[in-house]
């Protein structure tokens, strides 16, 4: 579904060129859940933006569904760390925003999307909140609305940039359980960025570990634990602990004494 070949990204910083990503090669299968994990500054968010077509890569090639990515695509949705809801729009009209922006739907098409919006909101437990304004909802509920918005156009690919990192631990566990359920139900390909090892282990089929400055592929770890998985009550605690330990090892190895940006050395 997604293919990355020799992808590199260089930014022009004030102190000269900053190499954010180097030689990234990755192939994400259809319906696969892949997590990008790494310390801050390893370019994981940049990589996600490249796949989304929000940034053009400096080098290499990115394909989604067999086509080279040249800009944002209709069948790819992006979910941010913050809910990014428009404060003057009701919950349901926030969910409908992507449909409204792309336009071109007939009245019937729009009505179908509207029904779908209500279904999705019900799916994430927000039935009865459709007419509320974002500020009337808690952070977790807002992020659920944001999740519905990214699902409204039935994307083939969902790109998620640390979507749960601003939430409290309990909401986070709930939402990651919901995300697993939704992915099984709707069969989408997901690329997920996080710096939480727990989250990566619970959610992913494969975890891609990136090293910082410049971001390179360190290792790809397969997670072969049966689903549904959860953090609280897990039948596979030993495997989880083993993989978590391994990931932890990979991430701490990267600690370097000199923490200066590449360009200043």
């Amino acid at each position: 579904m997604i293919r990355l070949d020799g992808v590199g990204q260089v930014f022009d910083g004030r102190a000269g060129e900053v190499r954010a990503l180097e030689e990234i090669g990755l192939h994400v299968q259809e319906n696969e859940f892949v997590t990008l994990i790494g310390r801050s500054g390893c370019g994981k968010s940049t990589l996600l933006r490249l796949i989304a077509g929000l940034l053009p890569p400096t080098s290499g090639r990115i394909e989604v569904a067999g086509e080279a990515v040249s800009g944002p695509r209709r069948d790819v949705s992006f979910m941010f760390q913050r809910p990014a809801l428009l404060p003057w729009r009701s919950v349901v009209s926030n969910v409908m925003l992507p449909v409204e922006i792309s336009g071109g739907d007939s009245e019937r098409g729009k009505a179908q999307y509207r029904d779908r919006a209500h279904e999705l909101l019900e799916l994430v437990g927000l039935k009865g909140f459709e007419r509320r304004l974002p500020h009337e909802l808690s952070g977790g509920m807002q992020q659920r609305v944001s999740l519905c918005r990214s699902l409204i156009r039935r994307p083939k690919v969902m790109l998620m940039d640390e979507p749960f990192s601003a939430l409290d631990a309990l909401t986070r566990t709930e939402l990651s359980a919901e995300l697993q359920r939704i992915q099984m139900e709707l069969a989408t390909t997901i690329v997920f960025v996080t710096h939480s090892i727990e989250e990566a282990v619970v959610l992913s089929d494969r975890v891609v570990v990136l090293t910082p400055r410049p971001g390179r592929l360190r290792e790809i770890v397969e997670i072969d634990i049966p689903r549904p998985r959860s953090l609280g009550q897990n039948a596979h605690l030993t495997e989880v602990a083993q993989i978590s330990g391994h990931l932890h090892g990979l991430l701490s190895e990267q600690e370097r004494p000199v923490d200066l940006p590449e360009a200043r050395r």
């Binding site: 941010f80 404060p87 003057w88 922006i101």
Partner: protein, 259 residues
């Protein structure tokens, strides 16, 4: 509920407190005229002012109407011209650099200095007054609109980008809407200035309006009439301001909570 929280949170107190403030000020004024036995041609007491108003309410209200229309016309014109200019400034750095110093310069000119010129150019009719109001309102409207549109959060801009939104959609569906609370702040500053603008213009060359009434009463040392006109001006300014506050509450129910 404690007395303090009643005073800060209840609706009745929200109306009552400003009224008490006003009454206290009037009482002090009245007291001052009595205690210092000030002659009424120097400082009339509130009663004199009220009597003067009741002598010729029709005339005074008509002149208030003239000033009100000038103020509103100039104010609306400033919105019609100011918002698109702000849009251009936000959209293009070149336009911003071209226009900003010019706008600052125009804003820095004391408007009273231009008033006679406006009379020379546009005569004694309504136009110089409307233009004066436009001049004083323009700057706060442009600045607040531009800075409001620039303050759109990055993640919302990126969201629209990820949805492949056009520039026009980004402006109308996001930036302009997001700027509304700040635009209203600019409008509130502008409406207060607008009243001043129309009076300044009426001082210089007019045959009607409250500014004209004030200059005329000054010439004949009719201080109570001047005070009646000034009071009407203040009332007009206060009502216009609160009309905007009300409009903001009705149009932007989301803004009160999100700020």
């Amino acid at each position: 509920m404690t007395t303090r929280s009643w005073l800060t949170h209840s609706r009745t107190a929200a109306v009552l407190l400003p009224a008490i403030g006003l009454i206290l000020a009037l009482a002090l004024w009245w007291l001052a005229t009595i205690v210092f036995s000030i002659d009424s041609y120097l400082l009339p007491d509130p009663g004199d002012v009220l009597v003067t108003f009741l002598d010729q309410p029709g005339y005074l209200l008509k002149e208030t109407g003239v000033s009100l229309v000038e103020t509103l016309e100039g104010f609306l014109l400033a919105i019609v011209v100011g918002v698109p200019v702000a849009l251009l400034i936000v959209r293009s750095v070149i336009v911003e650099r071209l226009l900003y110093p010019l706008l600052l310069g125009i804003n820095a000119i004391p408007k009273i200095a231009i008033a006679p010129l406006l009379v020379v150019w546009f005569g004694f009719g309504q136009w110089p007054k409307v233009l004066m109001v436009l001049l004083v309102c323009f700057f706060p409207i442009v600045i607040s609109t531009a800075s409001g549109m620039k303050s759109t959060p990055v993640e919302l801009v990126e969201l629209l980008k990820s949805l492949n939104a056009s520039k026009t959609q980004e402006f109308f569906k996001l930036r302009l809407r997001y700027a509304m609370p700040q635009i209203f702040t600019g409008l509130k500053v502008a409406i207060s200035l607008a009243v001043i603008g129309s009076v300044i213009a009426e001082f210089v060359g007019a045959t009607s309006g409250l500014g004209y009434v004030i200059t005329q009463s000054g010439a004949s040392a009719d201080t109570s009439l001047a005070f009646a006109a000034i009071t009407l001006l203040s009332i007009m300014a206060i009502l216009l301001f609160y009309a905007l506050v009300l409009l903001e509450h009705l149009l932007l129910p989301w803004a009160q909570e999100t700020r």
